[in-house]
Amino acid sequence: MDSINKAVLDLKRLDLLANNDSSIHRLDARAKVLVTCVFIICIVSYGRYELAALFPFFIFPAVIIALADLPPLFIARKIALLCPFVLVVGMFNPVFDREVLLHLGSFAVSGGWVSFASIVVRSILTVGAAFILVGVTGFTAVCQALERLGMPQVFAVQLLFLYRYIFVLTEEAGRASRARELRACGKKGLGIRSFSSLIGHLLLRTWQRAERIHMAMLARGFTGAFHAHRQSHFGKSELMFVLGWSTLFIFLRLQNASQLLGKLVTGLFP
């Protein structure tokens, strides 16, 4: 529980990164949201056995991390946090899909393994892109941008609340589990009964706290509208940013760049 708590506090750190200043940070949030969307759509639209074609896409996170001066290790650790979920999702592919798809030397690789690897790479790319988006924009600004791009305000506000709610829940969870551990006097098996009552308490407390926080927001004039203190407008550099990256992504999506590169290399060195 403690480690989950830490991980989430770390997520808040991601939000803090958005307060830095760089050429990427200064771009209008809508541009970054659009580019990230195109990126994710391109990745997700690949077939399940596609693997090599995905690798050129790593250029996007790499460039943004470098330009925005994000801590790469921190981002990598955040992505690693999601690995267990991805492994569960992809785990059965190698079991059910045994048809041999390619040979690496004398090694036969089944379709299952390829699709499994593909799922992992695609998750890393999409989740990484989302984290980077928050890191260079801030979650509130992302919601605001989504709203300005035409998402109904209700959904944008819901999204923002969901995000806050995750923090509230884990903070409460951290506190409750600490109290339980301290009173267990070092015993290992804390008992399923105390655990289930802990969960019950936790949900009630979270709900109450979330309500009080909502109240605090209302008390400070929250009407569902967002305000970012970085004033920005969709200008020339935003347009360039969106067009440049989108063209690259779509080009990569339509052409298999790895193969192109391979052909080029084999063409040069016959």
């Binding site: 307060n19 801030g138 009080r212 926080i213 109240m215 605090a216 008390a219 400070r220 004039g221 203190h229």
Partner: protein, 270 residues
Amino acid sequence: MSHHIVEVKNLRHVYSDGTVALKDASFRITHGESVGIIGANGAGKSTLLLHLNGYLEPTSGNIRIGDIPLSKGTLPDIRRTVGMVFQDPDDQLFMPTVFDDVAFGPFNLGMAVADVEQRVTEVLELVGANHLRDKPPYNLSGGEKKRVAIATVLSMSPDILVMDEPTNGLDPFARRQLMALIRDFKHTRIFTSHDLDMVLELCERVIVLHEGEVWADGPTLEIFNNEKLLAECRLEKPLSMQGCPICGSGRLAGSAIPCPKSYASSGFDS
């Protein structure tokens, strides 16, 4: 200015589990008054305050702020008028940084970016927390959180300031700072506290709650001199009104100046 009158009539509140937290509370606070609400733990102080900006709905009875009766439709206006500091600062802080948190209200009021910056700096200076402006609120100490929570409310320039145990958890210096701040606040102030010396210094009027009822309502000195009443309500005279602990002689009522003999007997003068 009838604008800042707070009128509570026959207020009764029963929590959903059947606890009768407020039985029948009535009082009227006029503009510019500074009123302390005191009472034992569980007397219903927080419950009462939470009604003043509509967080809790009365089971019966009614509340008026200025000329406006408190109801669903008038809530946004009332919340702008009544600035409320909760007992637990964690309920009040929800943005990624202290600055964002304090700026949240002014932005919702539609202030321009430059004005917001200035306002935030002002109130943070006022509570002595300007050095914390870029820190995330969840990493602050208890007293620092409290000060920021107070700043978030002050930034809205409320007409009525309501605080639930404002000095709870503050160090002596911060407590003095906050007391000066409350003293300088021009409009109506209502706060609960177990810090009876503070109540003695800051309030002309005290309302004593006991088991959900208004047990006494009158001038501060009169109430603190009524030993029978205080004993009934599990309260004590403020320390500054009690005899000097060292020589047993009394002090001037209402003065914080200690008995001069206590210095002599503790051997500070050789």
